[in-house]
């Protein structure tokens, strides 16, 4: 149970590899089934627009899961994650077309803490707008 990244090899400002996550309607359906979150605004455009949304939106937890992959892929051992939190500041709108939405995620070392712990600050955007706020992970490095 150890990360493949060494504490001594990172400093504040060290960038994690960025990733793009395409999200189409099928991904929302899969996530609904796997997570058990069948909230209708994540799959029914008629209801989503009736309650004032521009279209069907992705589960906030699916966006959070995608953003977290930037951290866990970097760590090697996902179990080196100690704490992970986000604010869902803006929904990811997923139109019913061949493209869907794309969530772009980048991460940077925001602080080096005690005991081999490091804070990662994540930025997640879709259509150029931030979709997660205060997205931070604390990880234990080797």
């Amino acid at each position: 149970m150890a990360a493949s990244v060494r504490y001594d090899d990172v400093e504040v400002g060290t960038q994690l590899p960025s990733k793009s996550f395409p999200l189409q309607r099928v991904n929302l359906v899969m996530y609904a089934g796997a997570s058990g979150d069948f909230n209708i605004i994540h799959w029914n455009e008629r209801i989503a627009t009736a309650v004032g949304l521009p279209n069907v939106i992705a589960h906030g937890m699916l966006t959070m899961a995608s953003a977290g992959r930037v951290v866990t892929d970097w760590l090697g051992d996902p179990g080196a994650l100690v704490d992970y939190g986000v604010r869902m500041t803006r929904p990811v709108v997923v139109p019913d077309d061949d493209r869907g939405a794309v969530v772009e995620v980048s991460g940077v070392v925001g602080a080096k803490l005690d005991d081999g712990l490091v804070r990662i600050d994540l930025t997640a955007t879709s259509e150029g707008q931030t979709v997660l706020g205060k997205a931070q992970a604390v990880v234990r490095l080797a």
Binding site: M1, A2, A34, G36, G68, P78, G79, Y84, M88
Partner: protein, 151 residues
Amino acid sequence: MALNPEFVGRTYAASAPYLVGREKIREFANSIGDRNPAFHDVEAARALGYSDVIAPPTFPVVISMTALATAMFDPELGLDYSRVVHGEQRFNYSRPVVAGDSLVCVPTIDGIRSAAGNDLITVRGEISTEAGEHVVTTYATIVSRGTAEEN
């Protein structure tokens, strides 16, 4: 109607044990498109020191959902389901969830506050094994739009 701050600290009964299955972990990992071998391949997970495949970091929501809903939709609290959105989520891990775990979740109302005309309620879920080993604490903040009283 604003939510009653006296509910802060109220704890609810533990959920029924959730037995974490290997295929459920794989299904969840596939649903988020995550091919990390630790979530799929038993040998890869064992090489990292785990007894079986581990679950992605956000998987604990599957375990906590029912328990947290019990607290959030306590009729005495008066939260209107049609007005709520998921505002914040946090996980604090002692270790990852591992296939074979039998987990229970104890929900507690951790905080109630108002901001910009919305009520925000945070429900903490302590997830541990049936034997009492802490695995992860979840914090879900739900925003009830437009229900806070005007000042």
